[in-house]
């Protein structure tokens, strides 16, 4: 799948830092460093896993790449163009190529819009040249590809299960044929059998379209399955990065080892041996 010798990177993040201002007064003492000095590159077709415990800055990283979060310093280069210096209008081209899948599937869908409206929405802004019929065809085609049924298109999000809502969210992200899909804990709110379905769906989409993915998760066993490369975050800093197989088989940093030890094993005998 991934070979590091490929052409120039699709996305490169350089020395990215994000600080939150906590409290009323401004000043260095009130700041919380959410991300400090993050750098990585992503080439076409690659799946990068971002792992770490709660609060380590995984979601902030996703939000910073998408310009939803103001950054303190650093650069986010999309095909060589610095997104952090652009205005909203200039970033419109980028919006077509980078899409996001959210953690809470229901919360990410506007409760007052029908499924068809939700899925079609990105097109109204970014592809205004399409006719209504073309949009409708595309919506139905995607719904079927996501395992939804056409007659569900006039329903509202609350009428669907969590897994179905996540499929709707993926359909909305995929309607623009993005080159990079950022998945922010896409399955952590779902139960295990649904998790597998959604992961399979994502992997299927990836192999069909050849898009890149940034896969954010605290579930290391899933990351191992889907990712080519892994970035381990701890308190806003990259502690280790490398090929997935290397990291899982031969973790270098103490924190990575600890994280890996926290994966529950399916075999009780082995689990006991490890704890013992």
């Amino acid at each position: 799948m991934y070979s590091p010798s490929q052409a120039s990177p699709l996305l490169s993040v350089e020395n990215l830092s994000v600080a939150f201002n906590q409290g009323i007064k401004k000043g260095p003492n009130q700041e919380i460093q959410a991300l400090s000095d993050i750098s990585f590159e992503l080439v076409e077709g690659e799946v990068l896993g971002v792992v770490g415990e709660s609060g380590c800055g995984k979601s902030t990283l996703a939000r910073a790449i998408l310009q939803l979060q103001a950054i303190t310093s650093g650069q986010v280069l999309w095909q060589g163009e610095d997104l952090t210096k652009n205005t909203n209008d200039q970033n419109k081209a980028m919006r077509e190529h980078i899409q996001l899948i959210f953690q809470d599937p229901l919360d990410a869908l506007n409760p007052r819009m029908t499924v068809a409206q939700i899925i079609a929405e990105p097109l109204y802004n970014l592809k205004p040249e399409l006719s209504k019929q073309e949009i409708q065809n595309r919506v139905v085609e995607l719904m079927l590809a996501m395992g939804l049924q056409e007659q569900q298109k006039n329903r509202y999000p609350h009428e669907f299960s969590g897994g179905q809502c996540q499929r709707i969210g993926i359909a909305r992200a995929m309607i623009l044929n993005p080159k990079l899909l950022i998945c922010d804990e896409p399955v952590s709110a779902l139960d295990v059998s649904i998790q597998a379905q959604i992961i399979n769906l994502l992997m299927d989409l990836k192999s069909r379209t050849g898009m890149s993915m940034i896969f954010i998760s605290h579930d290391l066993s899933i990351v191992r399955q889907v990712c080519d490369r892994v970035l381990v975050l701890y308190k806003g800093q990259v502690v280790e990065t490398g090929n997935a197989s290397d990291i899982y088989e031969n973790p270098q940093h103490a924190y990575t080892q600890k994280l890996l030890d926290s994966i529950p094993l399916a075999d009780p005998a082995m689990e006991r041996k490890r704890i013992g």
Binding site: L68, N88, K92, L109, N110, E121, N125, Q151, R172
Partner: protein, 312 residues
């Protein structure tokens, strides 16, 4: 869209909704809404329902003035609820007056809504200094009582343009004043729900699609803030009707030739001690009924849309 799977029409969906479920179980809400609907219909259809046109000064006969209601001694069967000091049929005048009161109430709240929703949305969504500035303006506005502002402005307008011009434009001026004086109520409500809604992920999703803040505010956030707006608007209509009645009672509202409920009460108070209680009390009863049913409906809406609030 008319395929067989889509049997749920809007109306059927409404009948199956939680809202209707709660409504069916709330006797007070059912009674209030029936009374409210009757009052609204009477007000809208007043030219058809009312036996006389109270604005037509030619049919008035001074000999008919201050006749009591039919059930009292000396009552005239032509005038069901009696007449006022100019010989106007009280029942017709009340119907026309209710129309004026409701119109002022609803239009004033529409104006409040337009101003309040826009300011509340911007303050809540943009946040920071804009939010501070707009909310401080709202605080200043709220620190004046509506009546005080209204009395000052109405007095100035009346003396500047003369009472003829004032009488002609009284309704428009009242709507403008009540609308402008009460927008912070709606702005605050909208702002607080925007603050809650804008943290939700669907707003981020809309940002990722590259939509402008204006579209996100009006297309995505506003539809999700409608229930509290609906609740407060109902209460504000009742408030606006009361404000208009108070101003008319003070002689600053609707002119005697086109009386609202408040002006009727005001006319009647001069005759109260000469025994003609009906000119004041009957319009007063209608005003109270109208305001009570609107407030009860507002309470019902609030309880239904926000069950966490105000319930033990």
């Amino acid at each position: 869209m008319n395929n067989t799977t889509n049997k749920n029409t809007k109306f059927q969906r409404f009948l199956a909704s939680d809202f209707f479920y709660h409504f069916k179980r709330d006797k007070l809400a059912i009674i209030s809404s029936i009374i409210f609907l009757i009052l609204i219909l009477l007000a809208i259809l007043s030219p058809l329902v009312a036996p006389y046109n109270p604005y037509d000064l030619q049919i008035l006969d001074i000999m008919d003035s201050e006749l009591p209601p039919v059930w009292q001694q000396g009552g005239d069967p032509r005038f069901l609820l009696g007449t006022d000091d100019q010989g106007r049929d009280l029942w017709s005048t009340i119907l026309y007056g209710m129309r004026v009161s409701l119109m002022i109430g609803i239009l004033a709240v529409l104006l409040q809504g337009v101003i309040g929703i826009t300011i509340g949305l911007v303050a809540g969504y943009v946040g920071g200094r804009t939010d501070n500035l707009l909310m401080r303006i709202a605080d200043v506005q709220l620190s004046f009582s509506t009546l005080m502002v209204a009395i000052i402005i109405l007095a100035i307008v009346q003396s500047a343009f003369g009472s003829d011009a004032f009488n002609q434009w009284a309704m428009v001026i009242l709507i403008l004043i009540i609308g402008l004086a009460e927008w912070p109520q709606i702005a605050r409500t909208v702002r607080s729900s925007v603050l809650a809604e804008k943290e939700k992920e669907y707003v981020d999703a809309a940002k990722v699609m590259g939509f402008s803040p204006i579209r996100i505010m009006f297309k995505h956030i506003l539809p999700n803030c409608l229930s509290p707006i609906f609740v407060i608007s109902t209460v504000q209509i009742a408030n606006a009707i009361i404000t208009e009645a108070s101003l008319s009672f003070l002689g600053l509202g609707m002119p005697v030739t086109e009386p609202s409920l408040g002006s009727l009460i005001s006319i009647g108070k001069q005759y109260l001690f000469s025994g003609s209680w009906w000119i004041t009390l009957i319009p007063g009863a209608f005003l109270i009924l109208l305001v009570i049913v609107i407030n009860l409906l507002g309470d019902f809406l609030r309880d239904t849309f926000n069950p966490k609030l105000y319930k033990d």
